[in-house]
Amino acid sequence: MLAHALLGGVIYGCYFALVGLGLNLVFGVMRIVNLAHGDVLMLGAYAAFFLFHLFGLSPFIAAPVVIVGFFLLGLPFYYLVVPRLALAKDAEMLSLILFFGIQQIIEALAAIAFGSSERSIPGRVLGIGPFHLLGETLSRAWVIGGAIAAAAVLALYLYLYHTRSGLLTRAVMASREEALASGIDMHRISARAFAIGLALAGLAGVFAPFMLGSVTPAMGTSVNLAAFAVIIVGSLGNPLGTVAGGLIYGVGLLLMQTYASAWADLLPNLLLIGVLLVRPTGLLGRRVRLA
């Protein structure tokens, strides 16, 4: 049972790393707290649901569609909203309230458009039969969801560390001030990072029906709390630190579900508060700014 929980935990860890990844990228580059992150994920899940039920398209096709679509929506959205925020005195706090408002809008629109009933995609569309790994039998949908999440994390790594645009993105994360002084076009880089953040959330959403269970318009808040737990446990402002946070979270969640299932829902919240109270700098790295 322990081996199963640990193995499942690693798979879930990869998935939750993906859930936190976009949020952390946006925070790292723009110092903006995207409270609508979980709702973007929810929209990705609905996109996958409708592409499957209306057009019979599998999540493997929905994934690239969602990535490209959300990326293209993210660019204008950035220019519409974020530059105005940057002018404010306390941009971080204001961004939180602003995206809270955006979250409410998305959630309401989703409820109006899709209704509030629970939606799901049958797991068999990802392949039939159980999956055997290291002597354990796992759900095939889990393994695929985890593998795609790992691939997305790897893709972001390659972008950040092996392209010029990725280098400039890391430069902005390292020091906004020096990035400006170096003549980096902050808005171009930020808009791109913002759009990538949305695309990653959308991708996580496509596989949410298999990893998180059924989809509802109201799922955003709990996804957000999980995502914040992941990035705060990991390393705030450093997207790749999210992997460690995701793994800790995933393994913790599966262990809780295995040994204390009644209390498993508490994990993200307790982890979040616990880390913030005990070690406000995050377990692994960058500081959470203290008041």
Partner: protein, 237 residues
């Protein structure tokens, strides 16, 4: 006196932070291939002046031109693309490697041109060439300064604007910085260096002093020495 219009000219610059006005009509000009040292004690507005020239802070009043264009309202990335480079007092990204810092400096260059430029820079800065993939944060203060210069030069600028390259440096390193800057200046690079370290006057063809956010003295080093402008700018007594 050169008849050509200056490469960079700033007229009547006023600026500041929030409600605190720091510059009260500063005047500055740098000719093509000229080196200008901006002298003044701390608090005189040197850093602010440079930031306004680079577009990192808005000019409340006044105009700035560079290479014949009015750049007063340009964003800073456009100014850098047009041939201005800025080395801030920090100068480098400590979290990134030496090679990455240089690539950021040359972000607007074509890959082939950047490679050629980096070869030249690594020749000029052998310390950096030996440790290309080391994090800039692992360098000593003097080496960081050298990296900052190399990074600023990676984009092959026409004008290098520097904020206190001597800050935090031992006299030995100050000498090295001056030597390397002289070398690039002789190859045609125009310099505008804000300093309180008078040693940099060795490099200057023209000196401007800032006193309380206004241009004080403007002239040759010899004239500066003849006048007691220097002592007045620093001690105000």
């Amino acid at each position: 006196m050169p008849a050509d219009p200056p490469l960079l000219a700033a007229r009547g610059i006023e600026s500041g932070y929030g409600k605190v006005q720091v510059l009260w009509g500063a005047e500055l000009a740098v000719g093509a291939r000229e080196s200008v040292v901006l002298l003044g004690p701390n608090g005189a507005g040197k850093t602010t002046a440079l930031k306004v020239l680079l577009g990192l802070m808005p000019a409340w009043h006044g105009t700035i031109s560079f290479a014949g264009s009015d750049i007063t309202l340009w964003p800073s990335d456009r100014r850098v693309r047009a041939g201005m480079a800025y080395m801030s007092e920090i100068g480098v990204f400590t979290a990134l490697s030496i090679a990455e810092n240089l690539t950021i400096g040359g972000q607007f260059a074509q890959p082939a041109a950047l490679r050629r430029r980096l070869d030249i820079l690594y020749d000029a800065f052998p310390d950096l060439a030996a440790r290309r993939s080391a994090a800039a944060g692992s360098l000593s203060g003097g080496q960081r300064k050298m990296l900052g210069i190399a990074k600023a030069l990676a984009g092959s600028p026409r004008l290098l604007v520097m904020d206190e390259p001597s800050a935090g440096l031992s006299p030995l390193f100050v000498g090295q910085v001056i030597t390397i800057l002289r070398q690039f200046h002789q190859d045609g690079l125009a310099l505008l260096i804000a300093e309180q370290n008078v040693k940099f006057l060795d490099l200057a063809e023209h000196v401007i002093t800032l006193e309380g956010g206004r241009t004080g003295f403007s002239g040759s080093v010899a004239a500066l020495m003849a006048d007691d402008a220097l002592h007045r700018a620093y001690f105000g007594l």
